[in-house]
Symmetry: C2
Subunit: 105 residues, 2 copies
């Protein structure tokens, strides 16, 4: 799983959001590093829905604009938990190896 996907799941972890709102939340979560384009976002949302990691919880029409709210499913939640653990482990290993190299060399 890549960063954009991971951040989309993270954005939906606390509460359901509609597609466009995810873009803003992902920008927040990544400290501005990741600015999703609409195309990237909706392709990812479709894919994640097909995989059962997220789900459409309600659809609204606000001011004539179609809004579709997505939420994390239980499988999506455990998947995100696993991924977070993996990232933490990788980061820890990398920092330790860097320390070893820094001392030795």
């Amino acid at each position: 799983m890549q960063e954009p996907t991971f951040l989309i799941l993270t954005a939906l972890a606390a509460e359901p959001l509609h597609g466009y709102a995810v873009i803003g939340k992902v920008a927040d979560l990544s400290d501005g590093r990741v600015t999703l384009r609409a195309g990237t976002l909706y392709t990812a949302l479709d894919r994640l829905t097909a995989e059962g990691l997220i789900d459409v919880v309600r659809e609204e029409v606000v001011d004539g604009r179609h809004r579709r709210y997505y939420a994390l499913t239980p499988p999506g939640s455990s998947r995100l938990t696993e991924e977070a653990a993996r990232l933490r482990s990788n980061a820890t290993h990398a920092l330790r190896q860097l320390r070893l190299g820094g001392l030795g060399a």
Copy 2:
């Protein structure tokens, strides 16, 4: 940057290794999750060399077998440090959002 690439850099962080040895170290670092195939490895090594993140530090012939040792360059080292920080940050954010969602729902 994706997981295999990140793990390759991590494997080279402590000390120079030749290509084939990287496969084993990556398997170790990832607790067996990631088993690099030869194709993936050498394509990645070439790419990382071209990007200046790693470098060939020496070439040997051991028992008639060609061995090429790769090491992290200073740019490679700072890049890996940044990536590790990014992973940690993402993991932390994800776990916090999951907690928020778990409580609220």
